[in-house]
């Protein structure tokens, strides 16, 4: 079920693309952040249903951010994204408390629904 989402990614182009794709599929993008520290703060402030979190952030690794989010806001689902394909990161994402991993090129509402319904 689509809900509210926070997008954490340092590339403005991807944030815009993700916002458009998710909004088209009924998600409400409640905020954007461009690094890990801002992402953690926004997650706490906005309490979204989902955080779409890039692995390659400029300040802290997205994996570390996912771990902290899991401790800080256990109710928030985290989906990690990267330009790499899923084979590289799916297991790592799970090990860091994330709900799942999506290759950025595969991002869509239905793909997210698939991950979250597991």
């Amino acid at each position: 079920m689509p809900g509210s989402v926070l997008i954490v990614d340092d590339h403005p182009r991807f944030r815009a693309t993700a916002r458009r794709a998710l909004e088209c599929d009924g998600w409400t993008v409640v905020g954007e952040a461009q690094d890990g520290v801002a992402g953690l703060a926004e997650a706490q402030r906005l309490a979204p249903d989902l955080v779409l979190l890039d692995i390659g952030l400029p300040d802290i690794s997205g994996l570390v951010v996912a771990q902290r989010l899991a401790a800080q806001s256990p109710a928030v689902a985290v989906v990690l994204v990267s330009t790499q394909d899923a084979g590289d990161f799916a297991e790592l994402a799970a090990a860091h408390g994330a709900k799942g991993f999506l290759a950025k090129a595969d991002l869509s509402g239905p793909a997210l629904d698939g991950l979250l319904s597991r």
Binding site: R13, A21, T83, K104, S108
Partner: protein, 505 residues
């Protein structure tokens, strides 16, 4: 008959030194009642002629004239009384020399009032090495007893000659050794079994900063071994002398030494044992290898920098790809999939809008990829060489730039690439750091065509750091090709990069 002038070298080459001869001849003339005595030795290397090497006579004027004739006469072997004795190896006695017409100095002897003459060979292990002749002022019959005595005297003189020759050879060897020591570029330091310096050559003086006078007699360890190694050195010497098992003798080792002013430096050291008169001496040949060590360190550092620069370049390419084209393509993929779904849902207008965005994004992605590929290695350089590649580079420069006199010929790919990236770095620096308004680029080969010379000059702020990452990396790149980079960038403005790269393929 004289066969030539008396060569001055003859006396110097004498087997018995002339001082010893003079004393002996004087004793003979004074004690044995002979008026004149002369010694003869081979005057030439082949021993074919004899010259007088010493002559002693009483002070009478006639005798002095005869002595002068004798001193300036050269006799062939077999000629005259000395020549005959030298050739035959036996003493000869003439009761009255003035009656023998075959004697070259007969007339002179007659004028001097000389009559009886006797000559005996000087014999050594090598055979006859000289002849001594005596003249009396009256006829005198052969004296068998005296002949025996003179023969014996000849043998003694021969021994003396041998000893003198050996001494001279030893002296010459010592002189050669000393000269070698003086001229040696390596330091030669010899110590005795107590560890005290007995020899310190000029190279050691220059290297260590002590004069030979200061060094000789002092303990070597205290003089040139760094403090923390001294005890080890002393123990090693004691152990070797007690047990006889060498650990560092006759091997080349690298170690630290210390100069008089306390400065420490790396040396290559070889110690050999020499035994003179049963006392062991130890000679160290020491070579200051500071320059070699510095060069090795610089080579290691430059290799590390080159590897690091290559890694950094790979990281940069990965970053550029990730941040640029990859993000573009991700967005394209997401947008395309969205457009598909909008079409499936019959929303053609949104699908169209999305496809227009995809088209624009593709153009941008392609341009970024092209720029990235050019940064890795420009295709125009590979295909067309320096001239078109530099024209293209200058056209795209952020600062107005002109390039002149680029040779049309092709150079080895590594040379072209080094020249290209030197100029690219110059243009980037002029725009990013120097705030320049104009850049001039010139490329030419030197006079004999062996070197490509590249100059990039800007009118910017100056003060560029030649040791900074970019320029250091360029210098390393040129150094790999045997080239050099010089940077002139005064703080009051303007920067000139000048690269020279050997380009003979």
């Amino acid at each position: 008959m004289p066969v030539g002038e008396h060569p001055p070298a003859a006396a110097a080459a004498a087997d018995v030194d002339s001082g010893a001869y003079e004393a002996l001849l004087q004793a003979i003339t004074e004690r044995l009642d002979w008026r004149l005595a002369a010694a003869w030795e081979p005057a030439t290397a082949d021993g074919g002629a004899l010259a007088c090497v010493a002559c002693s006579t009483a002070a009478a004027p006639g005798l002095r004239d005869f002595a002068e004739v004798t001193r300036t006469t050269i006799l062939r072997v077999g000629e005259g009384l000395p020549g005959r004795v030298f050739a035959g190896g036996e003493p000869a006695w003439l009761s009255d020399a003035t009656t023998d017409d075959r004697l070259p100095r007969r007339a002179a002897a007659e004028r001097a009032g000389l009559h009886a003459a006797v000559a005996f060979p000087v014999r050594s292990e090598r055979g006859v090495v000289g002849v001594v002749e005596l003249f009396a002022d009256h006829p005198r019959a052969p004296d068998a007893e005296l002949l025996v005595t003179l023969d014996l005297l000849g043998a003694l003189l021969g021994q003396l000659a041998e000893r003198r020759a050996a001494e001279r050879a030893s002296h010459a060897a010592q002189e050669r050794y000393r000269a070698t020591l003086q001229a040696a570029l390596d330091c030669v330091v010899t110590m005795d079994a107590d560890g005290r310096v007995v020899e310190f050559n000029p190279a050691a003086e220059r290297t260590f900063g002590y004069t030979t006078g200061e060094a000789v007699g002092r303990e070597m360890a205290e003089l040139i071994v760094p403090p923390e190694l001294r005890e080890r050195h002393r123990r090693g010497l004691r152990r070797y002398l007690a047990e006889g098992r060498p650990r560092i003798l006759d091997r080349r080792i690298e170690i630290e030494a210390q100069r008089a002013d306390g400065q420490r430096f790396p040396v290559e050291l070889t110690i050999t044992r020499i035994d003179v008169g049963g006392t062991p001496l130890f000679t160290g040949h020491v070579r200051d290898i500071s320059d070699r060590k510095r060069a090795e360190a610089e080579l290691r550092a430059s290799r590390a920098r080159i590897v690091e620069a290559a890694d950094e370049a790979r990281r940069r390419i990965e970053r550029d790809l990730h941040d640029g084209a990859q993000q573009q393509l991700v967005s394209l993929a997401v947008a395309l999939r969205l457009a598909q779904r909008r079409l499936d849902e019959g929303d053609a207008a949104t699908a169209r809008e999305l496809l227009d965005e995809v088209d624009a994004s593709l153009t941008t992605a392609l341009a970024e990829l092209r720029e990235l590929a050019r940064g890795i290695h420009p295709a125009i350089l590979t295909e067309g060489g320096l001239a078109p590649a530099l024209n293209s580079l200058v056209r795209r420069s952020m600062v107005p730039a002109a390039v002149t006199a680029v040779p049309d010929e092709r150079f080895p790919a590594s040379v072209e690439a080094a020249a290209y990236f030197l100029i690219a770095e110059g243009l980037t620096n002029a725009a990013r750091h120097a705030d320049a308004a104009r850049v001039e680029v010139a490329v030419r080969t030197d006079q004999d065509g062996a070197c490509l010379v590249i100059e990039v000059g800007d009118d910017g702020a100056g003060g560029a750091d030649a040791e900074g990452g970019g320029l250091r990396g360029l210098a390393d790149r040129l150094a790999v090709l045997g080239g050099t980079l010089s940077v002139s960038s005064p703080p009051d403005g303007g920067t000139i990069l000048r690269g020279e790269i050997p380009c003979a393929s």
